[in-house]
């Protein structure tokens, strides 16, 4: 079966580029444009393989989402990739994420990374 990837990113263009990269690797991709929707979706019982989390989000910040994800056992096997334009912010949350990618994020880079992470079928 295909693995689910959640892309929590408010910038439409970046979200679609990230989505394209992950789709290219074979993930089923779901884009979420703000923190509140992301929180609702996370509470809905979804079990993503990867979450791409932007730290600058409207309504609920990426930091808050991250701590609620870390507290939820259902996401204990979920890979967290933080995407942020602020390198310092990235450093701050490095311990809580599997990867930190500082924007600008290359399509190829993201595609290659997620390809490595994806379990072999």
């Amino acid at each position: 079966m295909s693995e689910l990837a959640l892309i929590i990113e408010d910038d439409e263009d970046l979200a679609s580029i990230f989505a394209e990269a992950l789709r290219g690797v074979g993930f089923v991709v779901e884009q979420i444009p703000d923190g509140k929707l992301a929180q609702e979706r996370l509470r809905s019982g979804v079990a993503p393989f990867i979450i791409l989390l932007d730290m600058h989000l409207p309504l609920i910040s990426g930091g808050d989402l991250l701590s609620s994800i870390k507290q939820d056992e259902r996401f204990s096997n979920t890979m967290i990739i933080i995407t942020t334009a602020d390198a310092r912010m990235g450093e701050l949350y490095r311990d809580q994420a599997d990867f930190v990618m500082v924007k600008p994020i290359s399509f190829v880079q993201l595609r290659d990374l997620t390809a490595r992470l994806k379990p072999k079928q």
């Binding site: 263009d13 394209e20 290219g24 600058h56 334009a85 450093e91 600008p104 994020i105 290359s106 190829v108």
Partner: protein, 569 residues
């Protein structure tokens, strides 16, 4: 009485010798006058008691007294008004004449009254001139001889020789007296001159000091910065008016108060108070730290004052109103953060879409299209690089860039460098090689991201200015507790005159090179600042047309230093 005497004795002359002689003459004249009056009294007493004197003797004495009186008065007038020398001469002649009739010729020429002629000889040297004693020795000698001859006696040659001997002694003593007085006068004159000079010098120096003090006060009063001068015990001894406005407290609450008391003021923010306490307690002179006082941002700098003998005299503390600058800086910082995010996001999108084209995500493309996508990617990356440089520069200027130490592997640094720069080098037909010296530890403590940035900037720079050959990177161990990075290229080199400026912000060699090679000229400036933040140093050597070598030396940061949150900022 004394004034009256002075008035009688005074003579109209400025020559000190003349004055002295004429005053002595006046004294002698008064003495003679007194003697004449006494003689008259004796005569009257004698006449009344009908004793001793015969009538002819009485007449002679009376005539003598009258002659003396008139002579003395006349000579006094001459002395007072005309000439001391003439008066003295007349007086001496009068004296000699009186003496010539004061006794019998026998007694005067050979007897008891012979000595009387020594008086005018001695007096002449005092009131006329030292040599005048010889004149009166001759006159007296002549009179004595004539008197002797008039009564058919032998001339007393020994007495006359005695007169000349006395004249010689008088001459010598008067002369030495006069020369001694003259020397004294010269000494006095010199002394006066010295006193006048010293007095003038002192007055001038006091005046200078007054002007200087006034000028310093005026400068202190008119400068916009607040200045407080403290003694070695941190007591405020001086404060200028600007302090009052800046700290919003009256000068009376500053001057003669201890700094600890002053900074107890409630308008000072607690954090700022701690900074000022630290300055007092550690007796340090930090330059330009900032405090918040009465809603203002003030920059404070302190400097110890030393006198000529290098003794500490206290501290001068200067407060500058930095409120506006602080606001502008905050605004700039916010602006930079916004620009950073807002510029990077769309550029990231451009980059991503171009990559998707190149990777033929939406179907196959021909070579030209792929090449175009490649160019979009390259230019976007360049633009991102420039933005990153500008942001780093802005952060460093704001003092916000910090170095985060963590264990790093030198081999990984080089791997990452090759990953980013190999293509850039090969695109230009250059070889990028790297090596690690054997004695360099396998693991070091450092800021991987910033070291990567330094390496990329240096290698980028080397590739930019090298047309053929190799760019060589070497990690090495230059000495104990140190490690180093060396980047060597075979490029065109940097002229010696430009070497001192290559780390300047916004500068490229030749000035116009920016347009040819791109970039803001920030790369090397950032390298230098990052290396400084890491407490290291960067050096450059270069030969035109042969190549350039950049050498960075960094301290080895121990685990203990790193664990105690050792941060260079």
């Amino acid at each position: 009485m004394r004034e009256y005497l002075d008035n009688i004795l005074s003579v109209p002359t400025t020559d000190p010798d003349d004055s002295r002689r004429r005053r002595v003459l006046n004294i002698l004249l008064i003495g003679t006058m007194v003697a004449a009056i006494l003689g008259l009294a004796v005569l009257i007493a004698n006449t009344a008691t009908k004793q001793a004197f015969s009538q002819s003797e009485t007449q002679l004495l009376l005539a003598g007294i009258v002659a003396i009186t008139f002579g003395v008065l006349g000579i006094y007038q001459i002395n007072r008004r005309l000439s001391g020398s003439i008066a003295a001469l007349f007086f001496l002649l009068l004296l000699t004449a009186i003496f010539s009739f004061s006794d019998t010729p026998e007694q005067l020429s050979n007897g008891r009254s012979l000595f009387i002629f020594t008086l005018p000889i001695a007096i002449a040297s005092l009131i006329l001139a030292p040599s005048a004693s010889f004149l009166f020795a001759a006159i007296s000698g002549g009179i004595v001889a004539l008197l002797a001859l008039s009564i058919d006696q032998n001339v007393n040659v020994f007495a006359i020789i005695g007169f000349f001997m006395l004249a010689l002694i008088s001459w010598l003593s008067a002369r030495s007296l006069e020369s001694a007085l003259r020397e004294l006068r010269i000494i006095n004159t010199n002394l006066d001159k010295v006193v006048v000079e010293r007095t003038e010098a002192l007055a001038a120096s006091l005046e200078r000091e007054r002007i200087e003090a006034g000028r310093n006060q005026a400068i202190l009063n008119s400068i916009a910065d607040g200045v407080i001068v403290f003694d070695t015990e941190w007591m405020a001894i001086l404060a200028n008016p600007a302090v009052k406005g800046m700290l919003e407290i009256p000068l009376e609450l500053i001057v003669d108060k201890n700094f600890r008391e002053i900074i107890g003021h409630p308008k000072l923010a607690p954090g700022s108070r701690r900074l000022l306490y630290a300055m007092i307690e550690h007796d340090t002179q930090p330059l330009g730290f900032r405090i918040e006082w009465a809603g203002k941002t003030l920059s404070v700098s302190a400097a110890q004052v030393y006198n000529d003998r290098s003794e500490n005299m206290g501290t001068v503390t200067v407060f500058r109103d930095f409120t506006r600058e602080a606001e502008v800086e905050k605004l700039k910082s916010t602006f930079v953060a916004i620009v950073s995010h807002e510029l990077r996001t769309p550029l990231n999108a451009i980059l991503g879409y171009a990559e998707m084209f190149k990777e033929t995500v939406y179907g196959p493309m021909n070579d030209k299209q792929v090449n175009m996508a490649d160019r979009i990617i390259k230019n976007t990356q360049r633009l991102l690089g420039l933005i990153n440089d500008l942001l780093d520069q802005a952060q460093m200027e704001a003092g916000k860039l910090t170095i985060q130490f963590a264990p790093i592997r030198p081999s990984e640094l080089l791997e990452n460098l090759h990953g980013v720069m190999d293509k850039t080098a090969s695109d230009k037909g250059l070889r990028l090689t790297s090596e690690i010296e054997d004695n360099l530890p396998e693991s070091l403590n450092g800021d991987a991201a910033r070291l990567h940035q330094i390496l990329v900037n240096l290698v980028n720079n080397a590739i930019k200015f090298t047309d053929q050959g190799t760019v060589r990177v070497r990690l090495f161990c230059p000495g104990e507790n140190k490690w180093g990075i060396e980047v060597v290229d075979t490029g065109r080199g940097i002229p010696a005159v430009d070497l001192p400026h290559i780390f300047d912000t916004f500068r490229q060699v030749e000035g116009t090179a920016t347009r040819v090679h791109g970039g803001f000229g920030l790369g090397l400036s950032i390298v230098k600042q990052l290396v400084n933040l890491m407490s290291g140093e960067v050096n450059v050597t270069s030969t035109v047309d042969e190549g350039t070598t950049f050498t960075i030396t960094l301290p080895m940061v121990t685990n203990e230093a790193m664990e105690t949150n050792w941060r260079i900022s």
